[in-house]
Point group: C2
Chain length 187, copies 2
Amino acid sequence: MKFCSNCGSGQLEFTIPEGDNHKRFICRNCSVIHYSNPNIVTGCLPVWEDKVLLAKRAIEPRMGYWNIPGGFLENGETVKEGAAREVREEANAEVIIKNMVSLYDIPHINQVYIHFWGELINGEYSIGPESTEVALFTENEIPWKEIAFTSSTFTLKRFFEDRNEGPYSVHFGKFDLERWEKRKGKS
Amino acid sequence: MKFCSNCGSGQLEFTIPEGDNHKRFICRNCSVIHYSNPNIVTGCLPVWEDKVLLAKRAIEPRMGYWNIPGGFLENGETVKEGAAREVREEANAEVIIKNMVSLYDIPHINQVYIHFWGELINGEYSIGPESTEVALFTENEIPWKEIAFTSSTFTLKRFFEDRNEGPYSVHFGKFDLERWEKRKGKS
């Protein structure tokens, strides 16, 4: 943030407002305090018989990698509605959302992933505008090394565990930045 | 949004960008697209023996009404960390977070409530800066007509049902705007 979105002034200060305990952008011209908070990424794993549907990303980041259909929750929709919309946009498919599988925090980029699984209606799907490929995979066929994001790997693992051993429950995960940086340093 | 936070220009247009399907503020001077997405309100119901802890709000909105400790998730923290922080700020108390109770959407104001319940450590608490009163209530003592928000009513009801009948599970709710407007019209 370089200019105040309320008055256009460049006199922004990044400091803790009175009575607060977090730093915010405060406009020294019009006194407005600007808040920035984490975003929700909502998604749904479509399930058909013994298979799950993944979409290969047509866009960056992680273009060419497989992912659970998902994206930023939009204003005016519920988390479940957003998850179903993302399946529609990425895989031209409809789902009946069943259970929430995971809540996965990525605090260093201010994102919270919420993943459901749902029944893929009639097993029908095709390639949406944000995908280059869409396909059904059994558990053994999952391309684990080509999954786009750790949030999807987390959800896929927990989903199959619950489906095989039951019952379904909500799992909590967090991106391990330290481990990721260590791995990156080695490669 | 009246001015572009990137270049300070007032030439903002609220329209659907190419390749998108939602309206965004686009700056006609520097071409930056400004996204706005829902916020997470995270909270935790502290539980001690057969009682739960509520805090009476010292601030608007709904000043003077009882609430489950909660507030906006901050950048850099996990949803559970935010819930524990809110208990600390509102009730000077520490919790061991146990289960997620609810995910409650309020799409017309772009908010998603996530509530947990947690063990109140040592049963200790006091009045925090955002509260005028903090107290423990048994199920029969809950001041149902003085609860600040429908998200808290939803969570309290589901929590007691699960505690009485088991097992604990995650419940999904949504603010019913139509019903609320009808009631408002009548009063």
